[in-house]
């Protein structure tokens, strides 16, 4: 399977703490995207990082990409209870437009 891995599978933190999720993928990519999913609903797009970028910020989100290690991380700073959700990374492999998803991280932020 080309599916990527994410760790941790589950993460429980207190409000105000930072949350870091890691993602690994299998082969060269065009870009990598991060999504949030609340309780089995649709996916909300968070951020896209291109293969030639190493870091990207959006509000409280920071994404890094290390193509030599085929890995990415998502950092959520100053977490809130509303950040409770599942987070998925998704890779667009070179020569392929569809996305290959990681296994996901379930984040629980305790108020």
């Amino acid at each position: 399977s080309q599916q990527g891995e994410e760790d941790p599978q589950a993460l429980s933190i207190q409000e105000g703490e930072n949350a870091t999720m890691n993602c690994s993928y299998k082969t060269s990519i065009n870009n990598l995207q991060w999504y949030r999913q609340n309780s089995g609903r649709g996916l909300v797009h968070l951020i896209l990082i291109r293969s030639n970028e190493r870091e990207k910020h959006s509000g409280r989100l920071r994404v890094t990409l290390d193509t030599s290690k085929k890995s990415s991380s998502l950092l959520i700073t100053a977490s809130r209870a509303a950040d409770t959700a599942s987070y998925f990374c998704a890779s667009s492999y070179t020569g392929r437009r569809a996305l290959t998803f990681g296994s996901g991280t379930r984040l629980q932020v305790q108020p």
Binding site: Q3, N30, N31, Q33, Y35, G40, R41, G42, L43, H45, L48, R50, F88, A90, S92, R97, A98, L99, T100, F101, G102, S103, G104
Partner: protein, 115 residues
Amino acid sequence: SAVISQKPSRDICQRGTSLTIQCQVDSQVTMMFWYRQQPGQSLTLIATANQGSEATYESGFVIDKFPISRPNLTFSTLTVSNMSPEDSSIYLCSVAGTSTTDTQYFGPGTRLTVL
């Protein structure tokens, strides 16, 4: 960003029946995809919906089970045929533009339960 709607949002179906899911986009898009998310799992690509031609299916998915139509650049349907309880999943359509750096947007999903 594209606004995507799906119908129905959820359904409960009997074994052996079929369900057609509709995906409507508010603007013309180049790429449309259908994904499946089984309970507690991540998303898996079913197929790429090609406008005016047959869909391109991923390994493990076949046209007889998941026929797909895409009559124009804003609409697509996915049919889940001869359903069994193992087909209980969330089905999501997604869209993207022509560039490899384009964001891929997802519809709200259709939650299917097969009894």
